[in-house]
């Protein structure tokens, strides 16, 4: 029996689910059922909405995936090293950038092995890479390949969707009447991401957190020599990274859309004004809905009338860090155990933040 389960991998279960669907279809009476009976028509409509939802998630995430994969390719080709050399050569024209590089270089030398500094630095990377969460995954994978520790990459993934200029501007636009929401969101995102990264950094060796497939990729990377043609290399990296991420994006979209179609949302949203339950409801909503962090402020705004302000903040903090779509995408890189720890920690910390806000305001 044990052997049976160990050979049942995820692809096989999908195949079995497919068979079960066909089985149900035939038991119900096939095409006639969906065309002529009222119940069948409702199921057909639901299926159609399900497809619309899946496609909408994919269409929405697609630009960010392309952007993220392009950035990841640039990092792999050592574009930023090239940029740094250019800036040092023309420091009079490009002095603001030179200034940033120079300061970060000095800080690097001074706090070489400081745990807090190395995480804080990574958490601020999002300011320069304005991509939302789905675009960040290829970047984080590339950073890991480039020698980042697992805890640093987690800090980057958690912080970058909140601490980036686009998210800041849309939150400011949406919550124009209450600027404290913006401040608390940014601060909480910053603190939670760093805290979790620092906690994780105490675990040694870090590579135990990585998915075996991805670990293999890191090992291969070290033996790999650069091919002579940079352009050809770029195409190869772009293709491989894209298909890897796109595949899991589809899985994530299927899961998120299924949870949307089959779990009635009014169960979640009728809770409203209770200071404790409203937070739970909004966090659950953020987990299920998998909305892009760049614009989730507008969505949260439409709940600001009926829900407590703390719960809306909880949504704004928890949503960008963890949801169904991101978790499936992170599975390509990290072990499930790590993801469970991170999810739990983020959940508790954002719950705590929301609770504090609810009691103060």
């Amino acid at each position: 029996m044990k052997k049976l389960f160990s050979t049942l991998n995820i692809n096989k279960s999908i195949l079995l689910i497919l068979l079960a669907v066909i089985f149900l279809y035939q038991i119900k009476g096939g095409y006639d059922y969906f065309e002529f009976s009222e119940e069948g028509q409702i199921i057909a409509l639901r299926l159609q909405d399900f497809i619309t939802l899946v496609l909408s998630i994919i269409v929405e995430a697609f630009p960010f995936i392309i952007l993220g994969v392009s950035l990841s390719t640039l990092i792999a080709l050592n574009f930023f090293g090239w940029l740094k050399r250019k800036i040092y050569n023309h420091k009079k024209i490009l002095f603001p950038l030179y200034f940033i590089y120079e300061i970060s270089g000095r800080l690097d030398r001074k706090f070489k092995s400081n745990r807090v500094y190395s995480h804080v630095k990574v958490s601020l990377l999002g300011v320069f890479l304005p991509v939302c969460e789905c675009g960040n995954i290829p970047v984080a994978r590339r950073l890991l390949l480039g020698g980042f520790s697992v805890s640093q990459s987690i800090t980057f993934l958690l912080a970058a969707p909140i601490l980036n200029p686009i998210t800041f501007l849309t939150t400011l636009e949406a919550f124009n009447y209450d600027k404290s929401v913006v401040v608390i969101r940014l601060l909480a995102g910053f603190i939670i991401a760093n805290l979790i990264g620092i906690i994780l950094s105490y675990k040694k060796p870090q590579n135990e957190f990585l998915n075996l497939d991805f670990y293999q990729e890191i090992c291969d990377m070290n033996d790999h020599k650069h091919t002579k043609n940079r352009f050809v290399e770029a195409i190869g990296i772009f293709q491989r990274e894209f298909i890897e991420i796109f595949k899991v994006l589809i899985f994530g979209a299927l899961l998120a859309a299924a949870s949307q179609t089959f779990i009635p949302r009014d169960i979640i949203t009728t809770i409203g004004q209770n200071p404790l339950l409203s937070i739970l409801a909004m966090l659950l909503l953020a987990f299920v809905i998998s909305i892009c962090s760049n614009v989730d402020a507008f969505f949260a705004l439409s709940y600001a009338n009926t829900f407590t302000i703390g719960s809306v903040l909880g949504f704004l903090i928890f949503g960008p860090m963890i949801d169904i779509k991101i978790l499936t995408m992170m599975r390509t890189t990290y072990k499930t155990k790590l993801l469970a720890i991170v999810t739990l920690l983020v959940f508790l910390l954002s719950f705590l933040t929301a609770l504090i806000v609810n009691f103060i305001k």
């Binding site: 496609l55 894209f242 009635p264 009014d266």
Partner: protein, 281 residues
């Protein structure tokens, strides 16, 4: 194999994005603020796909590699059984399921190479390209609690409030909904002219009288996943033959119903086609 698939998917998704943009169907899926990004990304994907496909063909011409792709016997048998189950008897499906569960080294190897994952990608791109794009229906609305009152729509409210004392017949459903967050008093709206379009929807939990339905639309802030239904109550004229999910345009005046809530007293009602941009942004 993976590189080839990647090029094809890049081209497919690029084409899909460009087609949606050119035919104005993107608004069925995402908020207009993403249109340009989506279009640009599709162009990049299309170019990358074509270049990488060209490179793939060129590389294979030089190396003359044999194709490693072959279909496993067991997979073939399962496929035959599934087809038989359609033609003869459903029981064949059970045998197919057994074939999947039974451990078999060669068969497992096939799954290691992730054929199904790749098939899923191709299937998704094909579904996108082939199926006609559809907007969400009232089925989804029934999954999500409907708002009859205010919700905050920053952009709409400002322009609506400024023009309120002039003619109100060009107000859309979204304008009326966002006006109510500015002034929730129903008397403020009484006897105002209304001309709005949306789909008809009758939720079970509101206990509406027989001749009253909701005229509803979805509010979308990011993509169709976060769509929230909003609506206004309307009276239907007697012996009107309209079904739930029909798109209609209603002209009439605001009144109050027996619960002192806002309701549109319908004077004229026409069936219309689904508009090209069915959501409120």
């Amino acid at each position: 194999m993976r590189d080839f698939l990647s090029s094809i998917v890049l081209i497919g998704m690029g084409l899909y994005g460009v087609l949606l943009y050119l035919t104005n169907k993107l608004s069925l899926y995402i908020h207009p603020r993403f249109f340009e990004e989506s279009f640009a990304a599709s162009i990049v994907a299309l170019l990358m796909g074509i270049v990488s496909l060209g490179y793939f063909v060129y590389k294979n011409k030089n190396i003359k590699q044999k194709s490693k792709f072959s279909i496993n016997n067991q997979m073939l048998l399962i496929l035959v059984l599934v087809i038989l189950s359609f033609v003869i008897n459903t029981l064949f499906l059970v045998i197919a399921a057994f074939l999947i569960i039974i451990p078999n080294k060669e068969f497992n190897k096939l799954f290691k190479s992730d054929v199904l994952g790749n098939l899923l990608i191709v299937a998704t791109v094909l579904v996108g390209l082939i199926l006609p794009p559809k907007s969400l229906s009232s089925i989804t609305a029934s999954q999500r609690s409907i708002d009859l009152n205010s919700i905050n729509l920053t952009q709409n409210t400002i322009s609506a409030v400024q023009n309120f004392n002039k003619s109100t017949s060009n107000y859309s459903l979204g304008d009326w909904i966002s006006m109510q967050s500015f002034n929730p008093d129903p008397l403020y709206y009484k006897d105002k002219d209304v001309k709005i379009s949306g789909f008809l929807y009758k939720p079970d939990n509101l206990n509406l009288p027989e001749n009253v339905v909701l005229i509803a639309r979805f509010v979308v802030t990011c993509c169709a996943v976060d769509a929230r239904p909003v609506g206004l109550k309307v009276t239907l004229p007697e012996n009107a033959e309209f079904k739930v999910d029909d798109w209609v345009e209603i002209t009439g005046k605001f009144g109050l119903d027996d619960k002192n809530e806002l309701i549109v007293i319908t004077e004229g009602i026409v069936k219309i086609d689904i508009p090209s941009s069915p959501y409120i942004f």
